[in-house]
């Protein structure tokens, strides 16, 4: 069973479009995250959710909005996509704050 799964794996879209990436974890973790990995492999935290409440929003443009229907899911919605949004987006979860993260396999977003 996949612990943290995200879909789609690849997403190619045009500038200005709106898209969503879905994430689900079956580990029973209370905290979920979205990270962005750029072309130089640098990982930056975007959001973290603990018990459905947003904990951190790291200067991410408000075009990005996390949505959590329940504690097993944290989806990422992006409005008005820009070229600079092209990256790999990773969902992750952890059992407790500061404990090891379990990552999904990423969604490679390409904006043309």
């Amino acid at each position: 069973d996949t612990a943290v799964s995200q879909t789609p794996k690849y997403l190619v879209t045009q500038m200005g479009n709106d898209k969503s990436i879905k994430c689900e974890q079956n580990l029973g973790h209370d905290t979920m995250y979205w990270y962005k990995q750029d072309s130089k492999k640098f990982l930056k935290i975007m959001f973290s959710y603990n018990n459905k409440e947003l904990i951190i929003n790291e200067t991410v443009p408000n075009r990005f909005s996390p949505k959590s229907p329940d504690k097993a899911h944290l989806n990422l919605h992006i409005n008005s996509l820009e070229l600079g949004d092209s990256a790999v987006y990773f969902c992750a979860s952890s059992q407790a704050p500061g404990s090891p993260l379990h990552f999904g396999n990423g969604t490679r977003l390409t904006v043309t």
Partner: protein, 113 residues
């Protein structure tokens, strides 16, 4: 802001040799973690060392932590081709609410068969 800085950025060794990667950070931490990322995959947690620990082992992995120098090292002994991957350190910063880990830029390790 970026916390961890790994060096070297890239490392190429022969199978069977040891690989050492270093990580430096800037602020006080609760713990430091190392992760591996294979090409096209998500990160996988390898080992966690707490701020009051100095050394930790897990199989062929050995991690050290020097909080006075704000640095850590990851040693992989008797490397294998399957160890080829990028390795990242991540810090759980004291006082940051512990809801985020801050990652470094990673070391790309190539193990040549």
């Amino acid at each position: 802001s970026q916390q961890g800085e790994e060096d070297p950025q890239a490392l190429s060794i022969q199978e069977g040799e040891n690989a050492t990667m270093n990580c430096s950070y800037k602020t006080s931490i609760n713990n430091l973690q190392w992760y591996r990322q294979n090409s096209g995959r998500g990160l996988v947690h390898l080992i966690l060392i707490r701020s009051n620990e100095r050394e930790k082992h897990s199989g062929r992995l050995r991690v050290t932590l020097d909080t006075s120098k704000k640095s850590s090292s990851l040693l992989i002994t008797a490397s294998r081709a399957a160890d080829t991957a990028s390795y990242f350190c991540a810090t759980d910063e004291s006082g940051a609410g512990s809801y985020q880990l801050t990652f470094g830029k990673g070391t790309k390790l190539s193990v040549i068969p």
